[in-house]
């Protein structure tokens, strides 16, 4: 492998890692801060991608579709928390798994009934459809770079929100002691509803922004769900920084694994998870949660 090819592979790794982070960040919020095992997280990603497909063909513009879609996702997440998830906090994980698994089936069926079971594509906006030539044979789609930038922006905003704002402070306090925060006169129920809506919006946003670079197909959410849990577990439950590091790590392992150890590339990520859990059972960034 010569240097230019190596550098392109590094770029591939970072790009894949950042996208993984974007999907997993919502999961780490809901799972880490609210303590709910949300198997339906992948469905939000799937719903996001289908929303991008439907809205962009209606409005003719992907960015309008994404803006509309994020608003819809926040509203959807807000209602969903109110109707279902707010009953789950004091219950054990098994009941959470049961409900959220049921939601996966419901969302897939709704998708099947409304949009159908076809595979769809979303076209890349004209302003971002060019490619940068890299090396002699290859070029790199600008849209992929755009995804990476968008992921970095979201990561930064999320970090600032949790670390530097009053809302972030309340969220972190609520994560460590719900009852204490409530007794201080903060409406914790409302707060968690907001966090949940944010988590749903992050997953849906990831689905929407990835849709043009990927394809939109039934079952796409379940595929992404598993790798998201790996990201969250490796990074340390509830740690956004951990999720970012873990996602990039997986990006590198997956990319270079496919090149150097093609026969084992399917298991390398899980091997990584096993090794990290033996070394640090709490994940990489557990101590300084959030």
């Amino acid at each position: 492998m010569d240097l230019p090819i190596f550098l392109i592979q590094v770029l591939n790794s970072v790009q894949y890692g950042l996208l993984l982070f974007l999907v997993a960040s919502g999961l780490t919020l809901i799972f880490g801060i609210m303590g709910v095992v949300n198997l339906a997280h992948g469905s939000f990603y799937m719903l996001g991608a289908y929303t991008a497909f439907t809205l962009s063909s209606l409005t003719g513009n992907l960015f309008t579709a994404i803006a509309l879609g994020v608003v819809l996702a926040v509203a959807f997440g807000y209602v969903l928390e109110w109707v279902f998830f707010s009953f789950l906090y004091r219950r054990d994980h098994l009941q959470q798994v049961l409900l959220t698994y049921g939601l996966i089936l419901v969302f897939e069926e709704i998708r099947s009934l409304t949009v159908g079971d076809d595979v769809h594509g979303v076209s890349v906006p004209a302003s971002l459809s060019a490619s940068l030539p890299l090396g002699s044979t290859m070029s790199y789609p600008i849209y992929n770079l755009f995804i990476s930038v968008a992921c970095l922006v979201v990561a930064t905003l999320l970090f600032l929100l949790l670390r530097k704002t009053r809302l972030g402070m309340m969220i972190r306090a609520g994560a460590s002691n719900r009852e204490m925060v409530r007794s201080l006169g903060i409406d914790i129920d409302f707060l968690f509803r907001v966090v949940f809506a944010l988590g749903v919006a992050l997953a849906a946003f990831a689905g929407m922004i990835a849709a043009p670079a990927s394809s939109v197909y039934p079952g796409m959410g379940n595929q992404v769900l598993i790798i998201c849990f790996v990201v969250v577990v490796i990074g340390g439950i509830g740690s956004v920084t951990g999720a970012l590091v873990a996602a990039l790590l997986i990006g590198f392992i997956d990319t270079f694994g496919k090149v150097f150890l093609p026969d084992y590339s399917g298991i390398l990520v899980y091997l990584l998870m096993a090794v990290i859990l033996v070394w640090r059972p709490e994940g990489l960034f557990r101590e300084n949660a959030v």
Binding site: M1, D2, I5, I8, Q9, N12, S13, Q15, Y16, G116, D117, D118, V119, H120, G121, S123, S131, P133, G135, T137, M138, S139, Y140, P141, Y143, N144, A213, S214, S215, V216, Y217, P218, G219, M220, Q223, D254, T255, F256, K258, V259, P262, D263, S265, G266
Partner: protein, 399 residues
């Protein structure tokens, strides 16, 4: 793990679904007293999940032929039984036993998914039940696991690859890289391509694999760019095919290293692939623009009966019924005369909408493969890739 058969979700309109389920209901509600005289056909097909549309197309195609014959095959009226296999290999053994043990069917028609197919093939061998495979391409069914009572009218996984290898060598491509998911259907397709391509003087430089059903191709596309072969042969289907074709074009490889594929790469996925698929060459036993009178008549009849466009799966369902019809006519509808029935089916010459087809000694379909080019959102045949191409049926001890 899913098979090749993976074909594709086909656009289908609501009326068609309604018509299909209504037909299914009628079949199930047949009066009990007539059962002794009716021939029992059991459909084991996916009616839910990703391949639901394929299952319905196969059933529609089958029933279309039966209805054209006045609802009878070989003078026998048909009673239908259906089991939804959900494309779920874990439930396959139980599901096939519902048809064999509970419903006591005379013949099974199924299925789409290769993993489920393996269970059906095993059950058909154990119980000596007559089986017609309307889609799943898993090589073993007409290879090491072949049996006199097992027939396939669709394709074997190797076949489109074998056809494309011939084309690639004839076009003067010297080197190739192959890429697919690491699972049986993909490996068998690559095996077919490699066999004929290298026989024709080409050389496969590297076989690249992605874990199934992973769709992160960027690392391997970079590999292809660094190896610089004269062509790439790919086997993907469904969502993976859409993403692969788009990624391949976005990586700027399409114009430098021509992409060749088994037909599934561009079948039922063209709307989603858009311009990225333009000009791609694939091989399959069917194309969107076959204008033979036989195909035109078939498509017209299908559209009239189900208000939806016929596709390759409908053709395969239709031919399953034709094959059964030929067998039953030879024995005057008496399915008990098994040796005579099987001899007639094995020797069948079927006038399929795709062209004339026959069967190989291992009971896999022998057929022409079309070389197809993607133009204006259609897979247009631009000639024959291979005439009367047979799967070698390795491991089969019949015939």
């Amino acid at each position: 793990m899913a098979g090749i058969d993976h074909g594709q979700q086909r656009r289908r309109i609501v009326q068609a679904l309604g018509a299909a389920s209504a037909l299914g209901a009628l079949g199930a509600a047949a009066p009990a007293f007539a059962q002794s005289t009716k021939l029992k056909v059991g459909f084991m097909l996916p009616y839910t999940g990703t391949y639901a549309a394929l299952g319905r197309a196969i059933e529609n195609g089958f029933k279309l032929y039966v209805n054209e014959q006045g609802g009878k095959l070989g003078g026998r009226e048909i009673e239908y039984f259906t089991v939804d296999d959900e494309s779920e290999p874990a439930k396959a053994a139980d599901n096939v036993n519902k048809l064999i043990k509970r419903d006591n069917v005379d013949v099974i028609v199924g299925t789409v998914h290769s993993g489920v197919q393996m269970a059906i093939v095993k059950a058909a061998r154990d119980n000596n039940t007559l089986l017609i495979i309307p889609n799943a391409g898993v090589d073993e069914a007409t290879g090491p696991l072949c049996a006199p009572n097992i027939f396939r009218v669709s394709f074997s996984n190797s076949q489109p690859g074998l056809a494309m290898g011939i084309v690639a060598a004839l076009r003067g491509y010297k080197t190739a890289v192959t890429i697919t998911w690491k699972y049986a259907a993909g490996e068998q397709s690559i095996g077919g391509f490699k066999e004929t391509f290298e026989k024709g003087g080409g050389k496969v430089l590297k076989e690249l694999y992605v874990p199934f059903p992973n769709v992160e191709f960027q690392a391997l596309l970079t590999e292809i760019a660094s190896i610089k072969p004269t062509c790439t042969y790919a086997f993907f289907a469904g969502g993976g095919a859409v993403k692969f074709v788009k990624d391949y074009a976005a990586a700027g490889l399409k114009d430098k290293v021509p992409l060749l594929g088994a037909g599934f790469l561009t079948d039922g996925t063209l709307d989603a692939q858009g311009g990225a698929a333009d000009g791609l060459l694939t091989t399959l036993h069917y194309a969107d623009n076959l204008t033979t009178p036989r195909n035109t008549a078939f498509r017209l009849a299908y559209a009239k009966a189900y208000s939806s466009k016929a596709d390759v799966y409908a053709v395969q369902g239709y031919d399953s019924a034709q094959l059964l019809g030929i067998g039953l006519r030879a024995v005057g509808g008496d399915i008990g005369q098994r040796p005579l029935l099987i001899r007639a089916m094995a020797a069948a010459e079927i006038d399929s909408p795709r062209g004339k087809i026959t069967l190989s000694p291992s009971h896999n379909v022998v057929q022409d493969f079309y070389l197809r080019k993607v133009e204006n959102g259609e897979n247009k045949s631009i000639g024959l890739a291979a005439k009367s191409l047979a799967d070698p049926g390795r491991g089969c001890t019949m015939g």
